[in-house]
Amino acid sequence: MVGLNSPEAPGGSPAKPGSARTLNDVVIRLAGNSQDGIQAIGGFLARLAGRSAQEVMTYMTIPSTISGGPSIFQVRMGTGDIQSSGDRADVLVAFYQHSYESHRNSLRPGGVLLYDSDHVQPNLDDKGITAVGVPMTSATVEAVGGSSKEKGKNIYVLGLLARMFDLDVAKLTALIKERFGGKNEDIVRNALLAFDAGHAYPAEGLRDCLYRLDRRSPTPGARPQITTDGNTALAYGLIAAGVRYGAGYPITPWSSIMETLRVELPKYGGLFVQCEDEIAAISTALGFSYGGNLAVTGSSGPGLSLKAEALGWAVMAEIPLIVVNVQRGGPSTGLPTNIEQSDLMQAIYGSHGDAPRVVLAPRTVEDCFYTALEAARLAREFSTPVIILTDQALATRIEAFDEPDLERLMVTVKADLSPRPIGFKPYPLNGPTRHAPPGSIMEDGKYPTVTGLEHDELGHPTANPALHASMTVKRREKIKAVAATYKAPPVYGDQSGDLLLLGWGCTFGPIHEAVGRLQASGLKVGHLQIRHIHPLRSDLEQVMAHYKHIRVIEINDEGLYGFGQLTTLLRARYCNPEIQSITKTDGLTFRVSEIVELVAKNLGITSIKSARAQSVLAPPTRD
C-alpha cells in the first residue's frame, strides 16, 4: 500500500492478501473524543518514528467545547520526505459512530477503517474501503480488569496498530514505561496489559491489513532525532538563545510556550512573570530588556493587538525584545483553535507611526527552534523588537527532527555593565544603537534617558524637525540593514522555469509536496518558503526573475484587491503583476491536492489539471 500522500514514492511493493506488505509511509487518523487519549497514542507513534530515524508529522483538532467533545489526531510517519500530515488517511481508527460518520470521507479509496465494534456500526455496503471491526472497549476491559474501565482503550489501539504495521514493540514498550513511569505502579502495568492485548489481536481478524512500515537504521554517528511540537521547539529555542526572562498572559495557542518558560527558566536562573494582561506583559518584558537582559513576550491575535502601543515604544526607544505571536483564526476572537495566517500586516504595521521592526516566520517545527535563535540574535545586534509569527498548526503539530547541536548553538550573553566613556551616545546617528543598561557608570556623569518621544543621540527628548527626520531614517536604515545578515533558505525544486511558489509559515510541507506533483506533470516549478518577512531578503527580485509565474500560497483572505497579505507586500515592493495569490480561509491547513488544484486552476493549465486528476484526486487503489 502506498498512501495517497506519496503516489510517486517508490518502495511500496504490492503483495498478495494476508501477507505483510512493505510501505514507505502511512497516514493514520485517530477519531474519538478528546478524553479518549488519542493524542497520547498519536504522541507514542510520533516518538516511535522519531526514534526510528523515520519522519513524522501530525495534525490535531481541538474540540470547540471546553472539555471533551469530538477530536482527531492524525499521524503520518515513515521514511522519505514527509512534509505534510497527509491529505487523506490510509487508516481511520473510529472510536464512535460519530467518529466514523464525520471522518469516513477522510479515508482514501481503498483505505482501512478500523472501528470499535462495541460502538460503531459501519455501512457494510461501502465497498470503497476495507472495514475491520475490533471490540476495542470490551477487549480493553477484559484485558485490564473492571476497575479502570475503558481507560486503557487508547493503549489497546496502540497495540493493535503495532501489530498491523509491525512496529518496534521494544521501543513502544520503553516509551510507555517512560511516560507512565513516575506514577502509580498499577498504571504502567495496566498500560502494558492493554498494549499486549491489542498486539495479540488474532491475525485473522487483520487479514488484508498487515503491513511492514519501512524502517531505516539510524546512520551511525548521526544525531538522534527528537520529536516535539512547534511551541516546545520555540520555547527551547529561546532558552538556547540565552533568553532568560519573559512575561505573558494566557491565550490559546500561545499559552503552552509561556507554561514551558515559566517552568524552565528558573532552572537557568531566570524567570517568567504571568501578568494581568498583555499590555502589562509586554511592559514587564521591556523592563527586563531595559535592564540589560533580552526578554520575550508573546500571545495570539487579540493579545498582539493589545501590545501594539508598547511595541511602538520599543521601536522608538530601540529596546531589544522578542514578541511571539501564535496566529489563529481571526478577526477578533475568530476561530481560536484553527489556523490562519492573517496577522502578518498587523505584525508589520500594527503600531501607529512609522514603527519598523523585524518579523520572522518559522516554516516547520524544527524551524521554530532555529527562528528563535535568529530572532534573539537580531534583537540584540540591532537593538530592536523582533516578532516571531508562528501559527496554530506549527504550534500543535509534532514532527521529528535531528537534535540540534546545542554545544555549538547555545548562546550566553550577559548584560554589559562596564563603565561608559565620556562622549558615549546610545543613539548615534551614524552607528548602531547601544544602550548602557542601568548599573553602568557613565564616566562623564551624564546618565542616559530612554523615551517614546523623539530624541537626540543622547536620548533626550526633542521636537527638532531635522532631528526627527534623521532619527526616522536611522530607525529605518537599521531595519533595512537586518537583511544583509540573513542566511536565507534555498529555492527548492527547479531553479528557474514556469512557476515559483512562495509561501510562509506552516504551509512549507504541503507546498513542497505540491511542487513534486506539479513537476510530475511536466511543469518546471520552484518553491521558496519565506522565513524573513520583514525586511524581506534582498535577493528576492533576482530569484523571482527566473520564473514566468509567481504564486503566493497564503492562509488568509484575498483582501479588497484580490491579494493575500504577503502578496500585497511583495507587489508593493516589486510592482510585478505576475505576483499573485492563492488564498483560503477555512481555518484548515492547505492540503497538497488543494494547492495543486488551485494552482492549476489559477494558471488555467488544464494539462496539469488532468495530470493531477490522475495522480492526485483519484489515485488508483494499488493494494
Binding site: 523592563g287 527586563f288 542601568p438 548599573g439
Partner: protein, 314 residues
C-alpha cells in the same frame, strides 16, 4: 545560573551624592507647579540614601508629573501612558541590584494605569512609586481626572464633574501595596520623610503627594495649606511605648485602621497609612524558586540542562 547580571565590584569609597550631580535638565513645568517641590525633596532623599548613582533608576509614564525622570540625572526615562509600573516591575525583578523609582500623575496612575497599580501591588516587587496628584489632567490641559472632586469645572465637565472620584488612599491600601503614605508638596520635610521611608521599605511602596497644578487647578489643596488658612494634619503614629495615649495613635500595620483613616473627610491626614513588613517581595519569592529549582538540578550548567531537556524528547 546564567541569568544574573553582575555589576562590576564596588569601587573605592566615592564622594557622596549631591544635588548638583543629580540635577539634569531644567524642569519645563509651569512656574509655581507643585512638582518642583517634589523634585527638590527627591534630590534630598537621594542625597540621604547615597546610593551609587548608577544604581538609581527613575521611570515614569506620560504627563506633566511623568517628566520627572528627565530632571533627575540617573538611569531612567519614560514609558507609555499608564504602564510604567509593570515596566518597572520588570526592571526590579530582572535586576535586584537596582533602586527603582516610578513617578506619575493621578491620571496616569489611577485612570489608564489603575489595574497595573493593583496587580503590581499584589505581587509586591521591590520598588517605590510616587504619585503627584493634582486632581486634573495637566499635560492635556484640564480634563476631569479620577481624583477631581465633585463639582470641579474642567473642559470635559464645564458644569462641574459629577462622576464619583476615587479615594486614592482607599485604593492604595486595598491594592495590597505593603507601604502606603500620603504627603503634600508644600511640606518639604514631610515629603522627604515619606519618600525616604518608602525607599527603605522592602517591597512595593507608594507615596501619594498632593501637588498643585497652578495652571489648571489652582487652589485645589488650599484646605491643607496652613499659610492659605488650611490645616495640615500629620498622622500620629504609634510608638509602641506602652503609654496609655499610645493606644489612640495610628498603628500602620492595622489594615482596618488604615482603611478607616482613608475614609476621613477631605483634606484628611498625611503620613504613613499602612505598612506591612512581613509579606515577602516577589523578588524574594522568585529568587527562592530559582534557588529551589537549581538545588534540584544540582546547579547544572545551562548547556547540561538544555541537553537533558532535549534528551527527554528523543
Amino acid at each position: 545560573m546564567s541569568a544574573s547580571t553582575l555589576a562590576p565590584a564596588p569601587d573605592a569609597p566615592r564622594a557622596p551624592l549631591t544635588k548638583k550631580a543629580l540635577t539634569a535638565d531644567h524642569p519645563t513645568w509651569c512656574p509655581g507647579c507643585g512638582d518642583f517641590a517634589v523634585l527638590a525633596a527627591f534630590y534630598k532623599v537621594l542625597e540621604k540614601l547615597n546610593y551609587p548613582q548608577e544604581k538609581i533608576v527613575t521611570f515614569a509614564g506620560i504627563g506633566c508629573s511623568s517628566r520627572f525622570p528627565y530632571f533627575v540625572n540617573s538611569h531612567g526615562g519614560h514609558y507609555i501612558h499608564g504602564r510604567a509600573l509593570p515596566f518597572a516591575a520588570g526592571i526590579s525583578l530582572g535586576r535586584d541590584d537596582l533602586h527603582v523609582f516610578v513617578f506619575g500623575g493621578d491620571g496616569d496612575g489611577f485612570s489608564i494605569g489603575g489595574n497595573h497599580l493593583v496587580h503590581t501591588a499584589r505581587k509586591n516587587p521591590r520598588l517605590t512609586y510616587v504619585i503627584m496628584d493634582n486632581s486634573v489632567y495637566g499635560l492635556t490641559k484640564k480634563q476631569t481626572s479620577p481624583t477631581s472632586p465633585l463639582g470641579f469645572k474642567s473642559k470635559t465637565d464645564p458644569w462641574g464633574a459629577f462622576d464619583q472620584p476615587i479615594n486614592p488612599m482607599r485604593t492604595l491600601i486595598n491594592s495590597g501595596a505593603t507601604f502606603v503614605a500620603r504627603s503634600h508638596a508644600t511640606q518639604v520635610n514631610h515629603m522627604v520623610e515619606m519618600m525616604l521611608r518608602a525607599a527603605q521599605h522592602d517591597g512595593f511602596s507608594v507615596v501619594e503627594i498632593l501637588s498643585e497644578c497652578v495652571e489648571f487647578f489652582p487652589g485645589a489643596f488650599d484646605t491643607s495649606i496652613p499659610r492659605k488658612g488650611g490645616t495640615f494634619q500629620a498622622i500620629d503614629l504609634r510608638k509602641n511605648d506602652g503609654s496609655p495615649e499610645d493606644a489612640t495613635r495610628h498603628d500602620p500595620t492595622d489594615e482596618l485602621a488604615a482603611f478607616q483613616l482613608a475614609l476621613e473627610p477631605w483634606p484628611g491626614k498625611f503620613g504613613v497609612y499602612y505598612e506591612n513588613k512581613t509579606r515577602p517581595t516577589k523578588n524574594a519569592l522568585e529568587q527562592k524558586l530559582i534557588a529551589n529549582t537549581r538545588e534540584k538540578t544540582k546547579n547544572a550548567s545551562d548547556l547540561d540542562l538544555l541537553q537533558k531537556a532535549f534528551a527527554k524528547m528523543r
